[in-house]
C-alpha cells in the first residue's frame, strides 16, 4: 500500500512538473483579429489595439476601473484604468488570460493601453512571466524596448528612499545606483500597499545596502520601475 501511495505521489509530481513546463514554454496563437506583440509595438500612438495577454499584477480597483500589468510571451503591456466591475476585478488574478480592446497611448513616456474594455478568455493557458535580467541595459536606450516587462536589476546600491508624503502610507521613491549612475525606482502603493512585504522591506532599506530588485519596468519621464520584490544582492 505504501509503495503504491509513493508511486502515485511520484507520478502526480511528474505530471505536475510536466504541466508546468508545458505552460511555461507554450505560446498560444492569437485569436482572430488580435494583434501579436510585435504588431502592438509597431502600432502608432492613438491607434486602436486589440490584444490578448495574461494578467501579471493589478493595482487596486477603484471607481469601476483597474490598472493591470500584463504580458504575453513576447512582451508586456500596461493597461491603464480598464473599465472593470469589482466582481471582475477579483478574477484578474496573475496568469488569467484576457482580451483587451482599447487605444495605444503614451503618458510621460509610458506606453499603455487606455480607454479599454476587456473580456476573459476561457480555456487558455495560464502564464506568469519570469523576470528578465536587465541590469546591463540600465542607462542605455535599449532599455525602453523592455518597457512594462517584469525585470530584475542585480547588485544595485541604495542611495536613499523617500516617502511621497514624508511617512509610510503613500508611494516610496527609491534611488538606486549602479557603477556611479543613479536610477529612479518606485514602490507604487496601489500595486503594493503599505501592508505588503515589499513595501515594508523597502522602507527598511538603508543607504549603502546592495540589493537585487524585481519589478515592472514602468516609465515616468524615464525608467521608473515599480518594485515588487527586493532582496539582499546574491
Amino acid at each position: 500500500m505504501k509503495k503504491l501511495f509513493a508511486m502515485l505521489l511520484a507520478l502526480t509530481m511528474l505530471l505536475s512538473c510536466g504541466a508546468v513546463l508545458a505552460e511555461e514554454t507554450a505560446v498560444e496563437a492569437k485569436s482572430e483579429g488580435v494583434m501579436t506583440y510585435a504588431e502592438y509595438a509597431a502600432a502608432e500612438i492613438e491607434a486602436e489595439v486589440v490584444i490578448e495577454c495574461y494578467v501579471q499584477a493589478t493595482q487596486s480597483w477603484w471607481d469601476n476601473k483597474i490598472t493591470v500589468y500584463a504580458a504575453d510571451q513576447e512582451g508586456a503591456y500596461f493597461l491603464y484604468e480598464l473599465a472593470c466591475s469589482e466582481e471582475d476585478a477579483a478574477k484578474l488574478v496573475p496568469g488569467a488570460k484576457i482580451k483587451v480592446t482599447g487605444f495605444k497611448g503614451q503618458w510621460a513616456g509610458e506606453v499603455e493601453v487606455m480607454d479599454a474594455t476587456f473580456e476573459f478568455v476561457e480555456g487558455g493557458i495560464s502564464y506568469i512571466a519570469e523576470p528578465v535580467d536587465l541590469t546591463a541595459l540600465l542607462g542605455t536606450e535599449e532599455l525602453v524596448n523592455y518597457q512594462n516587462q517584469l525585470a530584475i536589476f542585480k547588485g544595485m546600491t541604495v542611495e536613499g528612499i523617500e516617502y511621497k508624503n514624508g511617512q509610510p502610507g503613500d508611494d516610496i521613491y527609491v534611488n538606486l545606483s549602479l557603477n556611479g549612475a543613479a536610477y529612479s525606482f518606485c514602490v507604487e502603493r496601489y500595486l503594493t500597499d503599505p501592508e505588503t512585504a515589499v513595501y515594508k522591506a523597502v522602507g527598511e532599506l538603508k543607504a549603502g545596502d546592495v540589493v537585487d530588485v524585481v519589478g515592472f519596468l514602468y516609465w515616468y519621464e524615464g525608467p521608473n520601475t515599480h518594485i515588487t520584490s527586493v532582496t539582499a544582492a546574491q
Binding site: 492613438e46 471607481d63 469601476n64 503618458w107 523617500e162 514624508g166 511617512q167 502610507g169 524615464g222
Partner: protein
Amino acid sequence: MSRMLKNVLLLFLCAACLLLTGCHGSQDKSAFEIPAAFDESRTYEITFWAKNDTNITQADLYRKAIEDFQAIYPNIRVNLRLYTDYGRIYNDVITNIATDTTPNVCITYPDHIATYLTGDNCVAPLDGLMTDAKYGLGGSEIRFDAPTKAEIIPQFLAECAFDGHYYAVPYMRSTEACYVNKTFVEKLGFTLPEKLTWDFVWEVSEAATAKDEAGNYLVNGQKTMIPFIYKSTDNMMIQMLRQKGAGYSNQDGQILIFNDTTRELLETVASHVKSGAFSTFKISSYPANFLNAGQCIFAIDSTAGATWMGSQAPLIDIAEDKLVQFETAVMMLPQFDTENPQMISQGPSMCVFNKEDPQEVLASWIFAQYMLTSEVQIAYASTEGYVPVTSKAQESAEYQDYLSRSGEDNDLHYDVKMQATQLLLEHVDDTFVTPVFNGSASLRDAAGQMIEEVTKGVRRKKTVDDAFISNLYDKMISLYRLNLDGSQGSSGGKQELGPLPGTAVTLLSAIGLAWGGIIAYVAVDAAKKRKRVKNNGYH
C-alpha cells in the same frame, strides 16, 4: 384565512418592522446640536483626511499643525490621512458614508459636499458653530487666536454656502495661471500682451508647430513640442463658457452646458489638436514637465502648481539633462474679453462630518478652526501659489514681509510662485465659482471630459463634426447621469454612490418583504371577503 396563517403573517410583519427600525437607526443621525459646553474631561480621537499637492512640505505642515493643536488641546488626538487627489478623497468619503465611517474633518470641494449631503445629517452645518459665542470662530472658549467670521474673505466663505447653510469653511484658495515660456514667444516673433487672449495663445501655438525637414520643431529644435497644454480641462471649459457669458448651470441645478457656444469651443479645440498645437494633461502628462523641457509654451495649471514651473523651479520632475533655460512669465489665463476678466476660484475647503456624539463633532470643529489660524494659513499658503483665506493672515506683518521678498531665492520666495500668488490676490474680484448642487461634481467632470473626448477623437483620426459633438452630448448626459432640468438634481452623478451597501440592500429588501407581506395580507383578506360575498351571493 386560517388563524395560523394570520398569525404567521403578523409575526412576519412585526419582524420586518423591527428590522426596518433597526436599519433606520444605524443609518440616520440626529441633526447636530451644539453642546452647551465642550467636555474637556474626555479624550477624543478624530480623523482628518487632507490633500496635498504631491508636496512633502505641505504634508509636513499638516503634521506640524496637528502637533501644535494637540499641544493646545491634549485631549483631542488627530489622526491624519493624506491624499494627493481630491477624487480619491471624494470616492472614499462616499464609500464611508455607506458604512458610517466618514472622517471627522475632511478637505474637500463644495461640489463634493453637495453629494455628501444626500446622506441624512451626514455633514454638520456650520452656521451655528461659526457664530457660537463660546466655540465659534474666535469664540471666548477657543484657546488659540482664531479668526472671526468677518475675517474670512467673504467671497471665499460664500463659496462654502449652499441651500442657505454653510457646510464648509475655506482652507486655501488658488486660481489658474498661464505659465509662459516668454523666450520662445519672442523667438517666434511675438510680444506678450499685458493680458493674454485666446486668439493670441492659439496664434502663437500654431506658429510653434512649424518643423524643419528633419521633423524637428523650429522653435526648440526637438522632436517634441506641444505648444499649449491645459492641466484641468474642466476648468478650461467652465472658464471659457463664463467668459463668453454662455450657459453652464444655474442655482436650481439646471444644466445648460450643452449649447451652441460649447459646440463652437469644442470645434476650436479640435482644430488646434489637429495641427498639434494643443493637448491636455490627461492625454500627454504634466504641463510643467513639457514647459521645463522646452516642449511647451503655454502651460495652464493651478497657481498651487507654481513651484513646479520654470527653469529654476524648486520642484522639478524631469531629468537634469532635459531641463532648458528660459524666462517664465506668469499670466492670467487667456480671456475673450480682457476688460472683463473671469477666472475660477478654487482650492480646498474643510467640512466637518456629523457623528452620534456631538462632543466629538465639537472637537472636530475646534480642530478645523485651528487650521484657519494665521500661523497655519501663512505657512501652508507659502508652500505654493495659494493665498490665505483670512484677512487676518493676509494683512499680517509676517505675510506682507513674505510677499515683499519675491525672488530673493528659488525656494520659499521663488518668483514664479510669488507672482502666481499675487495674481489671485490682485484679482479676487474677478474670480467666480460654479453653482453647487447634487450632481454639480458630475457636471464638472463632463465639462472637462468633452474636451478630452474631442482631443482624443482628433488624435484617433475621427471626424469631429456636428454629429460627433451631438453624440458626445448624449454620451455625457448618459455617462454622468445629468438631469438637464435640475428636477432630480439629487440623483445626478456618474455612479457617484457606487453599488448599494449591504445595509441598504437589507433595508430595501426588508421594505420589499414588508410590502409583500402587507399586500399578501390584504390580498388574502380581500379574497376571503370576496369569497364571503360570493358565498353570500350564492346564498
